[in-house]
Every structure is written in C-alpha cells, then in structure tokens.
C-alpha cells in the first residue's frame, strides 16, 4: 500500500492512535514487571505505585477510544485502515484489562506483605510472569510492524503460561494442605497466578486481532489451551 493518505491529517490521526496504543502497551509491561517484583520482594511501596499507575492506563484508553470513534465517525476508513482502527480499539480494551489485573496483583501483594505472610513456592509464578512479559513485548512489536506471522507465534505461546499455571496450582494446593496457616496468603498468590494466566489470554486475543488486521481473516480453529486448574481436585 502507498505510504501516505491524500489527506495528511488522516495519517496524523492514525499515527496518534498507534502511539497511544504503544504507550498503553509500554505501561502494561512496566506495571507487570513492577507488580511481579513487588511480590517477589514483598515491597509494599512498589505495589502501591502499581496500584496508582493503573489510573494513567485508564486515561490513555479513554483518549484512544475517543480518537478511534472520531476516526470512524469523521474519516470513515475502509479496508486495512478500518481493520487497523477496529483492531486497535478492541486490543486497547485488552490492555486496559491487563492493567486492572496488574493492579489486583499489587493490591494482593500489599495485603500479603502487610501481614508478613508466607507466600510459598512462587518461582513458577515468576516464570509465568516472565513468559507473559515476553509475549507482551512481542505482541507490541507485531502490532507496530503489522506482522501477522509474529502474532501467530505469540498466540501459540499462551499454552506455556497455562501449563505453568497448572503446575503452580498443584504446588500451592499441596503447600496449603501441608499447613493450614499457609492458606490465607497462598489463596492470594493463587489469585495472582490466575491474573497472570488471564493476561496471557488477553495477549492471545490481541494476537488474534492483529492476525485479522494483517490478513482480513480471523485465524481458523481454536488456539491451544492447557489451563486444567478447573478440573483439578485433591482428596
């Protein structure tokens, strides 16, 4: 496709939309890294910073929504431009939800840290977080470079997050069964792990949008999912 639109202000609006999305993505990444570090270090101040940081993400999403609606109403884009605006609008909603999940992680971390409670074995949780951080970085690159193939790879990676979540679920339940006094803190850690697993799902959904954006077709078939925690029970 030719680089420039006949109407230069159309290109300006589209660039602004892209930069708002990238800014949201960058903030989500920092929020996730900080929320994970706060848990690992039981750092209440850093957790507080993450909770506060979510507000900026909400404001950016509102600005992005306003701009996307303006483009749709006033520019009436077609074809790749239409798909680009819709993908950005929907994906920004996923980023905003990821922001909510990091805020919830940080709130739970503050509770755990305040109680000086034992979190149990969280190495797997840290690994889950790093996986999702990597997926977030790659999906932002795929969006920027409009690379559907890269998005496909990211979409497939979510299965690894699910598998790590299964493993962590088993470990934590075992840990709680060993000593009932661990239950309170471990329940919070379980919810934190679920938050990270949900973030992986959000990234996979953004990947699906980017595949549609670049090809005009939705990916065929269901993506591989391995979250089995809803079927695990210990007796």
């Amino acid at each position: 496709m030719s680089e420039n639109h006949i109407v230069a202000s159309f290109d300006n609006d589209m660039s602004k939309l892209e930069s708002l999305f990238q800014e949201m993505g960058d903030i989500v990444l920092v929020q996730l890294k900080d929320a994970t570090r706060a848990l690992r270090k039981e750092d209440r101040d850093l957790a507080k910073k993450v909770v506060k940081g979510d507000k900026q993400l909400n404001e950016l999403e509102r600005d992005l929504n306003d701009l996307a609606i303006k483009i749709l109403a006033l520019r009436q884009p077609f074809a790749i431009d239409l798909r680009y605006v819709l993908t950005t609008l929907k994906s920004a909603g996923h980023l905003e939800r990821m922001g909510d999940l990091t805020r919830n992680m940080a709130q739970r971390t503050r509770t755990i840290a305040k109680a000086e409670a034992e979190t149990g074995p969280i190495e797997t949780l840290i690994r889950m977080s790093k996986l999702v951080q990597g997926m977030t970085e790659t999906i932002l690159e795929a969006y920027k470079s409009r690379d559907g193939e890269l998005a496909k790879k990211v979409r497939a990676q979510d299965e690894k997050v699910d598998m790590a979540h299964n493993s962590l679920f088993r470990k934590l339940v075992t840990y709680m069964m060993e000593d009932a006094s661990n239950i309170s803190a471990c329940m919070h850690v379980l919810f934190i792990a679920k938050n990270i697993e949900r973030m992986g799902d959000n990234i996979a959904d953004i990947a699906k949008e980017i595949i549609y954006m670049t090809t005009g077709d939705w990916p065929e078939g269901k993506r591989a999912k391995s979250d089995k925690t809803s079927k695990i029970i210990f007796s």
Binding site: M1, N4, H5, I6, Q76, P77, F78, A79, L82, T215
Partner: protein, 266 residues
C-alpha cells in the same frame, strides 16, 4: 501457487446472472477508454461501479444499453449478453433494448411536461397501455414504486420541473420503471442531491431491487458500500477488482483497490 485474479470473493455462485460483459473494449476515436473488461451482473441485486474520475466507469455503464451509440467517435467491441443475446448484435432493436434496460442520469431531466405525462410518455410510445385507465394505472403504479406518489398525487398535472431536485430524480426513476424494465442503470443519481434526498433514493433502491436489477455508478464509496451487493473497481479503463461489496470494503485483494478506497490514490 498464487493465481493472479481480478475477481475478489465472488457474489454467491447461486445468484443468477442477468447480464454478462465479455472482453469489452471501448474507444473514443483512437483513445481506449475501456480495456478488456469482463463482468457478470447478478439479477435482483445492486452492482456499484466505483473508481476515480476518468476511469471509464460511466462509459462502461453506458455500454449496457448502448447509450454510447449516440457518440459518433465511440466504438465498442467485445460482447455484452442480456437474456442470452449479444446486445451489440446488429439485429438488436436498440429502442426496445432501452425499454428493457432503463437509465437514470446524474442530473434529473424531466420532460417539459406534466408529472403525469413524464411517466406516461414511455408506456404510450411503446404501446404498453390499451386504454386511458390502463395508462393511468401504470403511471400511478410507477410513481408508487418510485416512492413519489404520496407527495404528488394531488398535482399530477403540474409541470415535472416544479418538483424539488430529489423529487425530480424520483420522477425520472418512475419514468424509467413505467416501461417495465428488467435492469436500471444509474449514473451518479444522487450527486446533485442533499443527504436526505439521497437517503430516500437509497432506500428506494433497496426496495426496487426486489423487482429490478440495478447497476449504479457512484463517486461516493460510502454510497457504494451502503447500497450495493457487488462492487467493481475501475482504474485507468481497467476493471481492477470486482466482488462481494463487504469483502471489497473490508479486505480487497488488489493493492490498487486498497489504495483507492482508503484514499491513497485518486
């Protein structure tokens, strides 16, 4: 293997075709305006021809009822079939052909006659009514089908030119359908109308397609997207891409289509 194709996702293959253009070339003197265009027109659907000014879309539209015959230097080759017959066959009665394939132009052009006579003119010269009552019933039916009757029923004897622009255009549509055509060609029928009059015509087209096949040339891509089921994009006399309207406007195959509909070439 990638096969080079000009056709996007085709209209459902079970839709009957009412007209077929095969390898049509049009020349104005030595200048070629249309290059080897082939296109099927699905029955009871609306086909939109889009493209920048001078791309040949109006020239191609006028091939469908041989309106280009009126231009001395214009030469058409190739084949356009209607009901299985090549309309460019020398044996074809062009007047009869144009009663089957009517036309509505960019600028409303009512005859300098009454509203009633504007619509009655066609059926009368084609001998479609055997009595005055029958003629009146054709006029009223046509005005109703054009969505105009309720607005003019009490002033049928007033001049057609006394109507508003949008009403005049609907009068021309009534005049076109009075001779009971199968296909109606529309050459930018709303370009001189305000948004409300345009919306009324678009709504009318939606109703009309139950009985007629419509081919419309429009400069408004939004209009093409709103009203048509099939869209054909022309550029520099070539048919670049044709297919299902939704597919053309969300995911066109050809880069030139992409660039035109997204405002990157004019």
């Amino acid at each position: 293997m990638i096969i080079e194709t000009k056709t996007s996702q085709a209209i459902q293959s079970n839709t009957p075709t009412i007209m077929t253009a095969n390898n049509v070339d049009v020349f104005y003197g030595k200048k070629q305006a249309i290059c080897n265009v082939s296109l099927n027109i699905p029955e009871n659907q609306i086909t939109a021809l889009i493209g920048p000014s001078g791309c040949g879309k109006s020239t191609f539209l006028r091939c469908f009822n041989r309106m280009n015959d009126t231009i001395n230097i214009c030469r058409v080759s190739g084949e356009i079939k209607f009901s299985g017959q090549n309309i460019y066959d020398p044996k074809v009665d062009v007047v009869a052909l144009r009663s089957r394939i009517g036309m509505v132009f960019q600028k409303a052009n009512p005859f300098p006659k009454s509203i009633f006579e504007n619509v009655a003119y066609g059926p009368r010269i084609h001998g479609l009514a055997e009595s005055k009552d029958e003629l009146e019933s054709i006029v009223i039916r046509s005005l109703k089908r054009a969505g105009l009757y309720d607005e003019v029923s009490d002033r049928l004897s007033e001049p057609g030119t006394s109507l508003s622009g949008g009403q005049q255009q609907r009068l021309c549509i009534a005049r076109a359908i009075a001779v009971d055509p199968q296909v109606i060609l529309m050459d930018e029928p709303c370009s001189a109308l305000d948004p409300i009059a345009t919306a009324i015509i678009e709504d009318l087209m939606e109703t009309m397609k139950e009985k007629y096949t419509i081919v419309i040339v429009t400069h408004s891509m939004q209009q093409a997207a709103r009203v048509s089921q099939q869209t054909a994009f022309f550029h520099l006399g070539e048919l670049v891409e044709s297919g299902d309207t939704q597919a053309i406007f969300t995911n066109p195959i050809q880069e030139r289509t992409q660039n035109y509909i997204s405002g990157r070439i004019g």
